[in-house]
């Protein structure tokens, strides 16, 4: 028996019975979405009114804070007084042996090179100390004063002291920045709503999601600076910054889990630095002048502290990974550009290169110089978001960022790498 023999009505009846018997239980989220969609909808015009009002107020506050920050910060100027007393020593020791020690910094920059070489006139001369002072000048970029001090009550100027060039040592830029997490915003589920609602699956209509995220962060920064074409290396340590930021977040209606954000904020960077200079020490045979051996070593060059105040704007993209009804785990990445508003330093003679060239030691406000560069910083953040209600959520996470910065002036450049780690926390409001 084939289909032709099989009665059409029976076939359709059988098919209908089979089809009707198929009654799979739907997913729970369907009802949750239906239930949520049945709730009275908000007046969207009202939302936009409040959104624009909020953005307007935020803009005014941002501008006010910026003006305030540009005109304050005198407490840090006191630190600069210390710079007057700061001196840097380079000591070369010539012992009583038959050998002569020559100290040769290997810096090769044209303007920032100093080579001091000392020859001993007699084999039996006592210990010679050379003290090199670098004293900052308010009029000029810097003055390097070199003098020789002979201890053990034997003060002698060595006629064969050779000074080749003044050295514009220690080029230390204000630290930059950090990063602060700003970009963690991502979607989570709403406390009483299923994911389908958040992802706009309950309706074909566009249901825009706007969020505001106000946050603060604390981060540590690890930096490495190296001047170009030289063997001088500068290091900074113990930098930290505190930031405050406001982000506007937009959830793409069709791309489900994707969120875009733009943020404005400020941060202050406080750091202590230790700069290290690499020098080569050669031991010569006195009669012949042939070098016996040479070694390279790092010598502490200066210590100091810096303060800077910056504003920034960042753009990010994030993905929320929903973990439960109220919790979500978010990952975001973004870029940031920063603007240096204020900078002070205790570095004295070791002021940053760019500032040195401008003759600025105590900066009140920086608006047009090389330091005021714009550069990009990459960020990677992860955070958890907990929804307290339909509108309110708290969010906290771990932030990291990395930036490569090349700074140039007329004669040299500095390559700086910054790595930042920190924590942030904030409040998120959903419209």
């Amino acid at each position: 028996m084939n289909m032709k023999e099989f009665d059409n009505d029976n076939w359709e009846l059988k098919a209908r019975q089979l089809a009707d018997a198929f009654q799979p239980k739907p997913d729970d989220s369907v009802w949750l979405n239906v239930e949520a969609a049945l709730k009275p909808k908000k007046n969207r015009r009202g939302i936009f009114f409040w959104l624009f009002s909020f953005v307007g107020v935020a803009g005014v506050v941002y501008g006010g804070v910026m003006l305030y920050l540009l005109n304050t910060g005198d407490q840090y100027q006191a630190l600069n007084k210390q710079a007057e007393n700061l001196k840097v020593e380079t000591v070369v020791v010539n012992n009583n042996s038959a050998a002569v020690v020559k100290s040769v910094p290997t810096v090769t920059e044209q303007k920032s090179e100093q080579v001091a070489a000392i020859k001993s006139s007699t084999e039996n001369s006592p210990l010679n100390y050379q003290e090199q002072k670098i004293i900052p000048s308010k009029k000029q970029s810097e003055i390097i004063e070199l003098k020789t001090v002979v201890k053990n009550n034997e003060l002698e100027e060595k006629p064969d002291l050779i000074i080749t060039e003044s050295n514009e040592l220690n080029i230390i830029e204000p630290k930059n920045p950090f990063v602060f997490c700003g970009l963690n915003f991502k979607e989570s589920e709403w406390r009483t709503l299923p994911p389908g609602i958040i992802l706009n699956k309950h309706s074909n209509k566009k249901d825009l999601r706007w969020m505001l995220f106000a946050s603060g962060s604390y981060m540590n920064q690890y930096s490495s600076l190296k001047s170009s074409g030289t063997s001088q290396t500068f290091q900074k340590q113990n930098a930290n910054h505190i930031a405050g930021c406001l982000h506007l977040i937009y959830q793409l209606p069709k791309a489900k889990n994707l969120e875009l954000s733009v943020g404005l904020g400020f941060y202050e960077l406080n750091q202590k630095y230790i700069s290290v200079q690499r020098i080569a020490i050669a031991v010569f045979d006195t009669p012949s002048g042939i070098p016996i051996t040479s070694v390279e070593m790092f010598q502490e060059y200066s210590k100091g502290s810096e303060f800077s105040r910056n504003s920034f704007i960042d753009f990010g993209i994030g993905i929320p990974i929903v973990a439960s009804r109220n919790f979500s785990w978010n990952i975001s990445t973004g870029i940031r550009t920063e603007y240096l508003m204020k900078y002070t330093s205790t570095s004295g003679g070791v002021i940053p290169n760019n500032f040195a060239n401008l003759g600025i030691n105590n900066l009140e406000s920086i608006s047009s110089n090389e330091q005021n560069r714009i550069y990009l910083k990459g960020m990677l953040n992860t955070s958890v978001r907990y929804s307290l209600s339909r509108h309110l959520a708290i969010q906290s996470g771990f932030n990291s960022s990395y930036s490569l910065t090349d700074r140039y002036n007329k004669s040299s450049s500095i390559h700086q790498r910054d790595l930042n780690f920190g924590l942030n926390a904030g409040l998120l409001y959903r419209f």
Binding site: N2, L18, F22, V30, K201
Partner: protein, 185 residues
């Protein structure tokens, strides 16, 4: 409409949340089966069901009670499913392959052995146009004239499409049944 249905509808009209949920639970599984027949996959079925129930609750005022509530809800689900299909493919019958209508034969034994889930799965494999015509005519029980009106085609087109759809479905059933039998051996 039964008294129970009437009472449930009245409560739902008053936006009683528990009544709404009860109504949903009463028909959700059945309507999910309807949605599955028109959908390509479970996710589409879920979307249709969700959209359909939102329409049910928002249009409940228009339910006059002159017929079974289930039939009214079912009609909404079918219309929602058709809207869903139309939105996805503008021309339902554009890309359908040529079917040799003479060569169709479903062994009645196969039909008797079929399980409901298996049949629905085979229906879901049909091209969109075939699927719509087959479901509307064979399963929902619409006439070819009604099917034509629902899909915007002529009555004769509905007939010819149905014949081809059924032939195609039988081929799918036979093909998959043979494979399954072979796998069992």
């Amino acid at each position: 409409m039964t008294e129970g249905d009437n009472e449930l509808v009245q409560l739902c009209l008053k936006e009683n949340a528990s009544a709404q949920k009860r109504l949903y639970e009463l028909f959700a599984s059945k309507m999910n089966g309807v949605c599955y027949r028109y959908a390509r996959n479970g996710e589409d079925a879920r979307d249709i069901l969700q959209e359909g129930f939102i329409k049910v609750f928002t249009r409940l005022k228009s339910f006059k009670g002159d017929g079974p509530l289930e039939a009214w809800i079912r009609r909404i689900m079918v219309n929602t499913a058709l809207d869903f299909i139309k939105a996805r493919s503008k021309n339902l019958f554009e890309d359908e392959e040529k079917i040799d209508v003479k060569n169709h034969a479903t062994n009645p034994e196969v039909m008797n052995k079929l399980q409901s889930e298996y049949l629905v799965n085979c229906i879901s494999k049909l091209p969109e146009g075939f699927k719509a015509v087959f479901n509307l005519y064979a399963i929902e029980g619409f006439s070819h004239k009604e099917v034509g009106e629902l899909l915007g085609i002529t009555e004769s087109t509905s007939r010819s499409q149905y014949t081809r759809a059924r032939t195609k479905l039988e081929q799918i059933i036979q093909q998959r049944f043979k494979v399954n039998e072979y796998e069992r051996v």
